[in-house]
Amino acid sequence: MTQVLLPRALDELWDFLEEDPNTAVYSGGTDLLVNLRGGRINPSRLACLERIEEIRGVRDAGAAVFIGAATTHTHLLENSLVSSEFPVLTKAIRVLASPAIRNMGTIGGNIVNASPAGDTLPPLYALDAEVEIVSRKEAKRMPVSDFIVGPGRVRLGANEIVKGVWIRKAPEFNVRHFEKVGLRKSQACAVASLAAALSLSEGGKIERARLAWGSVGPTVVRSAEVEEALLGRELEIQMLAEVARLVERAVSPIDDVRASAQYRRIVAGRLLLRLAESGCKN
C-alpha cells in the first residue's frame, strides 16, 4: 500500500478510482485495518470516504430517511429522527462493539463488510432498507438483502461505492425489538441476534411481521414461512415456542470459535420468545 487518499467530494473520488483500479475504499476502517495489517488484503492505495460531505449524515426525505454511508454509529445513536422512526436500529447500535469503535465505524462500512454478525444488518433487513449505489455515471437502489450475497460479498462493481441507505418510515410497526446474544455484554461479536418489527392490532393480533436473524447463516436470515406463521396470532409464549421450531429449520448456522451451530440454531428460535414481553402492551 503506497498511498492513502482523503477525497472531499465524490468527483475527486471517481478520479482516484479511475487512476488505479486497485484502490480500495474504506469508511471507518475498523475492520479494514485489521485485515490490512494481517496481510489478508493488499490494495495498492486506499481512499477514505469519511470526508465526503455528500455521503454523511441523516436526511429526512418525507416518506423515507436517507442515511449517508459515512455516518458513524455514534452519530446515528444520537440522531433523534433515527431513534424515533427506527428504534430497532438504535437498539442494535447501542450494543454494537464499544463506544470508541462506534465513534469510528460507519453504517456503510458495516453494510459493505457484510459480516453475518454485523449488528446493523438485521435491523436493516427487518426495515426492508435499500442500498444506494453510485458511480460517476449512475445511481441505483437495491434491497439490502439483494446487495449482500454472502459473508464479505456484495454486489458492488468496479468504481462503484455505497452512497447510503434508504429506509421507509413505517409507523404501523408498533413493536420494534432487537436482542443480541454474545459471549459478553459489550464488545461482543453476535452468536445470534434478532431484529423484529411487528404491527399489533388493538386486540393484540399480529397484522404484519418482519423478522431478521444475524449470525445464523451466511447472510442475515429472513423467513417468509416464519413471518406468515405469526400473522393473526397473539404474542404469547406458547405460540412463539411453536413458531421457534420453524425458525430452527429456517436458519443455517455454522460452528466457530464462539458457538456451535446447534447452539446457534436453538438460540435463534428462543430469541423469538422475548417478543411475548411486548404482547400485552408495546
Binding site: 500500500m1 503506497t2 498511498q3 492513502v4 482523503l6 476502517g29 475498523t30 485495518l33 485489521v34 490490512l36 495489517r37 486506499l46 477514505c48 469519511e50 455514534t74 462493539a97 464499544s98 463506544p99 470508541a100 469503535i101 465513534n103 469510528m104 455484554k185 459489550s186 464488545q187
Partner: protein, 158 residues
Amino acid sequence: MKQAIALEVNGDTYEVLVSPNQTLLEVLREKLGLTGTKKGCDLGACGACTVLLDGAAYLSCLMLAVDAVGKKIVTIEGLSQGGELHPLQKSFVELGGLQCGFCTPGIIMTAKAVLDEEPQPTEESLKKKMAGNLCRCTGYKKVLDSIMGATARMGGER
C-alpha cells in the same frame, strides 16, 4: 513511499515522515516517543490504545496516522497541566485504580471523554461507556471508584 505529515498532539504540532500504512498508535509511540499510549491487542478489542480525536475516544491502533491529520489529538501525556496531574490521574493514584497499569492510559482517556460529555454520570451509565476498555487485574471496582472519585473532585469541571 514515506510522506511528510503534520500532526497536532497535545497542543504541539509535529512534522513527521510516515508510511501510509502506519497507524496513529505506531507513530505516537515510535516516531514521537509518546509511549504512554499502549499497544495491547492491536485489533481494536482492548481499548489500551485509546486517545482523543477532537474530544472523542478513538482507537489509535485502528486508525492510519495520515487519517489523523487536521484533528486535535490528545494522549495521556497531554492531560497534566503545568506539572500538575489531571484530577482523573490523581484519583486513580489515590484510590488505587490500577495494578499493573498497562490499561490505565486508555481507561483514563476514555473516562476523560465520558466526563467531558457527562460530568456526573451514574455508575450504570459509566459502566456502559467504559465497556470498551479491558482490565485484567483490577476487576474494575477500583477503576469505577476512581472515575467516580474524580467527578467529585472536578465538581463538574473539565
